[in-house]
């Protein structure tokens, strides 16, 4: 934080700073995610750029007060561009000892620690497994500790409502939120309106939460509990209309937009799975767009229904995560064999097996690119940020329909749940999605191909004169009839590969940020974009010659990629896996790369990547 002081309209002065990172932490039942989301909305309304990272346990309600039940929400906001939710919080709000214990090591030295003093009783400390009381054992000496009796003060504020003690205590997240609004001078009116809408019909609850929010703010104003308060001026974002959006919301909107622009009916077949279910929830609200959402009996039926819908002429999509991807793989090869368009979204999570369902990972790249039996090529795209999910969803639909083939989108738990401001796109400027069903029976052969894309015709049931059969058995090159001819099979294997390879003609030239050649190139894919971007910017500020390239198209890869890699002396590939992109790059382009791999279920911090860049670039050569 910088220390430039500027007066504000109130009695107290506020320090103006250019960025801040705040983390709310508490029991998963404490309303921490709610507080985080409201703080985000208020921050967006204040005009800051921002990025968020909700981090919660898989257990819906783990035993209260235990380490397993701690839920967190981190936001970085700034008066300049923000690429990540931030490495270390400047402010930590801990609602109980367990939340403190889990999160304190991330708080930057000297950072502000806001504690709910009422939850530091002996029983609370025991549940959190604290041998000594952190409030007394000196372990918090390096921080600005703000101890507040949030439970008592909330109850006092709600006294007139005569609520049962437990009910009143539930509003303490709004008290904490009010405190953080004061600390960063956020307006409360948006949140007050939101409370009214959210709890419509529950008058007591509305009043309780409104009072608690205002009480938290007023408490800070009256007691001057914070040594100083802050102001983060609005960011100079690219002009336009903005909204805040999560990755899963953006995917849903991207699909609906693609359906709307193409005139196709959107059909989603999905089975609930963390962290992908929100796309199903989201799309099921778009009924008046003609969107059909089908909650199938399992992951297999989900993709099966989508293949059926696609055969019948719909824009079919299915959403899942790693375990579901494994189950879908046989059906995916049927879509490859029958050359039907559909989009499969894999929102990656930490594995193997059930792993850590709510934690992020990039472990499915090789699965997406190569993880099917036989020669089964598939287009693979990856989204790099929550807002980018919109473009990637749209692009996936465009490619699927144009090339008549399945497309896999890789997202992950981090960007699925994380959110950022999104500049609304000009819908007219999006690439068109031209769909032409085959209608003319004259000369119709189900596997006769478009000479440019090698796509076969989309001939949907109900079209007079186009009756034909498709299926999983090998096809004759033109007629699509079953064929066991060895030479035909070899030609078909090559045709299916070539069809996907030609998608590269549809990919724009690759962008390199920084010098176009020279020293170090950091290559990434997917959700590491924010951390890599921050790290590369900081490295460049230090005077290091570091460039950045981020891949959206993982299969096929851009035609110019090999040539670009060849222009750099060193290539660094940070990934939240054990080096899957590194393996692909080395295998395809024979380019040695330096790997940076961490698999902790968490996104990279920018510092982790910066440290590696410095290690590489500043070591004697």
């Amino acid at each position: 934080m910088s220390t430039e002081v500027s007066p504000v309209g109130t009695a107290s002065a506020r320090e103006s700073i250019d960025r801040a990172v705040v983390r709310f932490a508490g029991d998963s039942g404490d309303g921490v995610q709610l507080a985080g989301n409201r703080f985000t909305a208020a921050t967006a309304a204040a005009g800051n750029d921002l990025a968020t990272f909700p981090d919660f346990p898989a257990e819906i309600r783990a035993p209260a007060g235990t380490l397993a039940g701690v839920s967190g929400f981190q936001i970085q906001f700034a008066s300049e561009a923000v690429y990540t939710p931030g490495d270390r919080p400047d402010v930590l709000v801990a609602m109980n000892p367990a939340a403190l214990k889990v999160n304190i090591h991330d708080l930057r030295p000297g950072g502000i620690l806001i504690l709910n003093l009422d939850s530091f009783k002996e029983v609370d400390l025991r549940k959190a497994g604290c041998a000594t009381n952190p409030l007394e054992d000196g372990s918090l000496d390096g921080y600005q500790v703000i101890r507040v009796e949030m439970s008592r003060l909330t109850k006092a504020a709600l006294k007139e409502l005569a609520l049962p003690a437990q009910t009143a205590d539930r509003s303490k997240n709004f008290f904490a939120l009010g405190m953080s609004y004061f600390l960063f001078n956020r307006p409360m009116d948006g949140t007050l309106r939101w409370i009214e809408k959210k709890f419509a019909g529950q008058e007591q609850l509305i009043e309780a939460n409104r009072l608690a929010l205002k009480a938290g703010f007023a408490y800070c104003e009256a007691t001057e509990v914070f040594p100083s308060a802050y102001e983060v001026p609005a960011a100079r974002l690219v002009p336009g209309t903005y909204r805040n959006i999560s990755g899963n919301q953006a995917l849903a909107l991207g699909f609906v937009t693609a359906a709307s622009k193409s005139g196709l009916t959107l059909f989603q077949g999905s089975y609930p799975i963390t962290p992908a279910s929100d796309v199903l929830h989201e799309l099921s609200t778009y009924r008046n767009f003609g969107v059909v959402t089908f909650q199938a009996e399992d992951e297999i039926a989900a993709i099966g229904s989508v293949i059926g819908a696609s055969f019948a002429g719909a824009l079919g999509i299915t959403t899942t995560s790693g375990p579901g991807m494994a189950l879908k793989s046989e059906f995916l090869t049927l879509a490859i064999m029958t050359e039907l368009p559909l989009v499969v979204v894999d929102i990656q999570r930490a594995g193997p097996s059930t792993g850590m369902p709510t934690k992020t990972e990039q472990g499915d790249l090789l699965l997406a690119v190569h993880g099917r039996f036989s020669e089964s090529p598939c287009i693979v795209l990856a989204a790099r940020s929550p807002a980018d999910c919109f473009e990637v969803a749209y692009e996936a639909c465009r490619l699927a329909v144009r090339h008549m083939t399945p497309v896999i989108i890789l997202s992950d738990g981090f960007i699925a749940n994380g959110a950022e401001p999104w500049r609304l796109p000009d819908l007219d400027a999006l690439d068109p999605i031209d769909v032409r069903y085959r209608t003319d029976p004259e000369g119709f052969k189900p596997y006769l191909r478009d000479p440019v894309t090698l796509a076969r015709p989309w001939a949907i049931p109900g079209t007079v004169g186009l009756e034909h059969r498709i299926g999983g058995l090998e096809k004759h090159e033109e007629t699509g009839d079953v064929s066991y001819d060895p030479d035909n099979h070899e030609r078909m294997v090559h045709l299916r590969a070539e069809k996907v390879a030609r998608v590269a003609d549809d990919i724009p030239p690759t962008e390199v940020v920084g010098e176009a050649q020279g020293g170090l190139l950091v290559v990434g894919w997917g959700s590491t974009w924010g951390s890599i971007t921050s790290a590369v910017r900081r490295a460049r500020t230090r005077g290091l010659r570091v460039s950045q390239l981020h891949l959206r198209h993982l299969n096929p890869m851009p035609r110019d990629l090999g040539e670009i890699l060849g222009r750099f002396e060193r290539v660094l590939v940070p990934e939240i896996n054990l080096g899957q992109l590194a393996l692909l790059l080395q295998g395809r382009y024979l380019k040695p790369v330096i790997r940076l791999n961490r698999v902790r279920g968490l996104p990279f911090t920018a510092a982790e990547i910066l440290d590696k860049i410095i290690e590489i670039e500043e070591r004697p050569r």
Partner: protein, 337 residues
């Protein structure tokens, strides 16, 4: 829009050479389906036949309609997607005892409980044919096959009872070579709005020949088949001199007519009766009684695809058609200038 033109059986025959073993019961079912489809008044291009894997699942290749030979056990999922995406189509699933009841059991029960308007033709030969002769989920206990040289110990599954358990709104049974009956049954299935589950006994003359001899062969079947007809008493036998009556509260017994017993003492078939009645019929089979064939249960329940279409229409009428430019602006937006 095309108007239904009169089709003949020949119109439904595809150019593909049929490759089932000579003498397979599938030939008779194919012929019955081609004949029946020609008579349904449905334009040819509106038929979609979806199959899984197995001998029976080659069926779509031989029908000159739209067809989809999918993967093992999963035809119901694909058929559901097709029907929901375009409810105007007449969608038929062709499957077998292994495909539908073993690897695909989960999909079958969910198709039925949802009551998706598709027709399921389950060819039951009580054996795995395409993989060359292993026992199937409907094989009888003690069956000696390549994978059970000392006899199987699995209890067989009763397809009709399974369908009823899943809440089937239409269940019927027929036999491959019982051509006229099979065609009538297919017509009944077509007429039902919802999942029509048709259990068809089909002889595999290579790996399980004679499995249904007592209900399939002339001279035996007359005494072993119970023809179900809505509103008529459960009478069977070459001389129509035996019948089924209630014995106690939840069981049936076979009785001979005469000696004071008349048709009035027998159960009267009711396709719409409570599930417990249909379940009693499902349990009937030789040697303890006759094998009921025909429509076992037929009740009207809204079909899934129709419900889906109606809900979307209602929602659209209430909210107005979706506007994507407005949708992307939903939630809190702000201007940066």
């Amino acid at each position: 829009m095309s108007t239904p033109t009169a089709l003949t059986k020949k119109d439904l025959v595809s150019s593909q050479e049929v490759r089932w073993c000579p003498g397979c019961g599938d030939y008779a079912i194919l012929s019955a389906a081609q004949q029946t489809f020609a008579e349904l008044g449905v334009p040819k291009e509106k038929f979609v036949i979806v199959s899984g894997i197995g001998c029976s699942s080659r069926f779509p290749y031989y029908m000159n309609t739209f067809g989809f030979h999918t993967i093992h056990g999963r035809a119901p999922a694909v058929a559901t997607g097709i029907k929901v995406a375009n409810p105007d189509l007449s969608v038929w699933i062709v499957t077998g005892d292994g495909d539908a009841l073993s690897i695909g059991g989960n999909h079958v029960i969910h198709l039925i409980r949802r009551n998706v308007d598709v027709k399921v033709l389950l060819f039951d030969n009580r054996i795995y044919g395409l993989t060359k002769g292993q026992y199937s989920p409907t094989s009888e206990i003690g069956k000696r096959t390549k994978s059970t040289p000392f006899g199987s110990i699995d209890r067989p599954l009763n397809p009709v009872a399974l369908a009823l358990g899943a809440g089937a709104t239409f269940v019927a049974r027929s036999i491959d070579v019982y051509t006229t009956h099979l065609r009538e049954t297919l017509r009944d299935a077509h007429g039902h709005r919802g999942t029509a589950f048709v259990h068809i006994f089909q002889n595999c003359n290579i790996y399980n020949d004679g499995a249904f001899e007592n209900i399939r062969e002339k001279g035996q079947r007359e005494d072993n088949l119970l023809h179900l007809k809505h509103g008529e008493p459960l009478v069977f036998g070459k001389n129509q001199d035996r019948g089924i009556r209630l014995s106690g509260a939840f069981a049936t017994e076979v009785v001979s007519l005469g000696n004071g017993l008349t048709e009035k003492d027998l159960l009267v078939h009711d396709e719409t009766a409570p599930m417990s009645y249909a379940a009693m019929l499902a349990e009937l089979q030789p040697p303890h009684g006759p094998m009921p064939i025909g429509v076992i249960r037929r009740v009207e329940v809204p079909a899934f695809d129709a419900e889906m279409r109606d809900r979307i229409a209602e929602f659209t009428a209430a909210r107005g058609p979706g506007d994507i430019a407005r949708a992307i602006r939903s939630g809190n937006t702000w201007e940066v200038t």
